[in-house]
């Protein structure tokens, strides 16, 4: 479990990791996409980083929504809405909580996954970020009673496997769609971003635990 303060620090670290991934994301997206996914994510998560430096939060729910809103505001385009939705459109009925645990993750991301599918009119196999997010959510639900470290470890594996799977698919959206069979063998940039977000969450949680044990 993470307190609000820890969760905020975790997302500062996540923002830093996404920003640093810009060259990798740009390289992937330039092959069959518009080539702007990397710079879009960089812009969005730079804004998140700044926002987190300035603001304090009472609950985890508030923190997630603020991250989502910042991405929607700063990124523009389809990616801004999709990655914004990932954080903004969680379980609206959920009770405000001051602790981030596996249960919260499962409920939040399963709701936001549904919102993304509806809003983006996309599903697994369309070579989008959903290919990484959906298997991650499946793991979150399965592990919702486990510790957050265990859950996130499984989530990272599932998301990375999802990214690998995008290589098998043709694209149904954007410029990549025109590539038809030529898109096969190339991974999706959006799915890669999802795996970077989850991996950096896990890294921070693991480091945090190690530091606490060391104390």
């Amino acid at each position: 479990m993470l307190e609000v303060k820890d969760c905020k620090n975790m997302f500062s670290y996540v923002s830093k990791c996404v920003v640093e991934s810009e060259p990798e994301l740009t390289r992937i997206d330039s092959q069959i996409g518009d080539g702007d996914h990397g710079t879009g994510m960089e812009e969005g998560f730079l804004a998140v980083h700044k926002m987190l430096e300035k603001r304090e939060f009472d609950t985890i729910n508030e923190l997630f929504r603020a991250i989502g809103l910042t991405l929607i505001k700063s990124m523009g385009g389809a990616s801004g809405v999709i990655f914004g939705t990932m954080f903004f459109s969680g379980d609206k009925e959920a009770k405000p909580t001051t602790m981030l645990d596996s249960y919260f993750l499962a409920h939040h991301f399963s709701q936001s996954l549904e919102a993304i599918k509806k809003r983006g009119r996309a599903d697994v196999g369309d070579k989008t970020m959903i290919d990484a997010l959906e298997p991650a959510v499946v793991k979150m639900k399965k592990y919702q009673d486990k510790s957050i470290t265990e859950t996130m470890k499984a989530v990272v594996d599932a998301a990375e496997e999802g990214v690998e799977n995008t290589k098998k698919y043709r694209a149904r959206f954007g410029r990549a769609r025109k590539f038809g069979d030529k898109a096969i063998g190339i991974q999706d940039a959006g799915a890669t971003s999802v795996s970077i977000i989850f991996r950096s969450m896990y890294e921070w949680i693991e480091n945090n635990e190690r530091e606490k044990e060391g104390e």
Binding site: I72, K73, G76, G77, A78, K118, R119, G120, R121, F173
Partner: protein, 341 residues
Amino acid sequence: MGRIVKKLINSSEMIEKEMLSDFLKANSNVEKVPSLNAIAVKSRERRVKIVVSGGIGCEPLYMGYVGENMADAVCLGRLFASPSAYNIFETSQYISEEEGILFVFGNYAGDFLNHDMACELLEDQGIKAACVIVKDDITSEKIQNKEERSGIAGIIWTIKIAAAAAKMGLKLDDVARIAKKATNQIYTVPVVLESGHSPVTGEAFFHVDEDKIEIGMGFNGEPGIEATNLITAKEIMTIVFNYLNNELKLSEGDEVCVMLNNSGNLTFLEMHIMYDCLYDRIRETGAVIYDNEIGRFLCPQDMTGFSVTLFKIDEELKKLYDLAVDTPAYKKRNEVCNVRG
């Protein structure tokens, strides 16, 4: 590489800003929404507000349709690029009353994504919001996939009916219901003879063979459903009408509004020769023409082509349709009086 067409602009970076600034000078009933590329009508009535948003270039959408008993605000994107969900949200927030916001837009993935997001952002602020999605282009998908069809000239009458319902003081749910009912009765077939040209480079957007007419071709050159050789106005209009009537199945006593839209470059002469034939085809079914509009309502720049929109109308819709509108691109008096038939 085709011919480069002459264009009158100042600089490609400034087209959106200059168009907006001129529009404000030319229309005293609208104001700029502060710090956004958006405009809103000045009058503030307490009712549901109609907000429309989209890229510029497919003219005169959407700016041309802001005004009395049409759209209350327009959020502009760049040339052929949608504005962001957040800008749509901010524009709506600027003019919203507690009665809520209705979005009307054509069925395109990006537009749905942005408006659906904007709805959630509004609801998060306690402002009710709903979407009405226009799917009138019957050539864009087969009837089995009706829900996937795109929206073209039918957007204009959908806005009209929605705005009239809002003006009557109906609640958001009812405005949305009636606008959906209307849009489900609107059918359009587009025809392309020649591509339009980029206002920035003067280059054609796509290519149509010299001796061909494309029925159902999209504005970006998406393939049509039928390419015919150059034929007479009468023949082409008969083909277009048959596509429409296959779905509409007009019969004795039906009433329709007809929009013959010039997609940019056809002449007054050509338009009226075609309307003559369209009128005959409709009257042969026994249906009555309740009203007609002939003119430039949706032009992807200087495209050579047209579209025919038929709107089957009943008593409930007539009351709303009859309401006068006054916008730069579409004006209509209260009573329908100019139609013979």
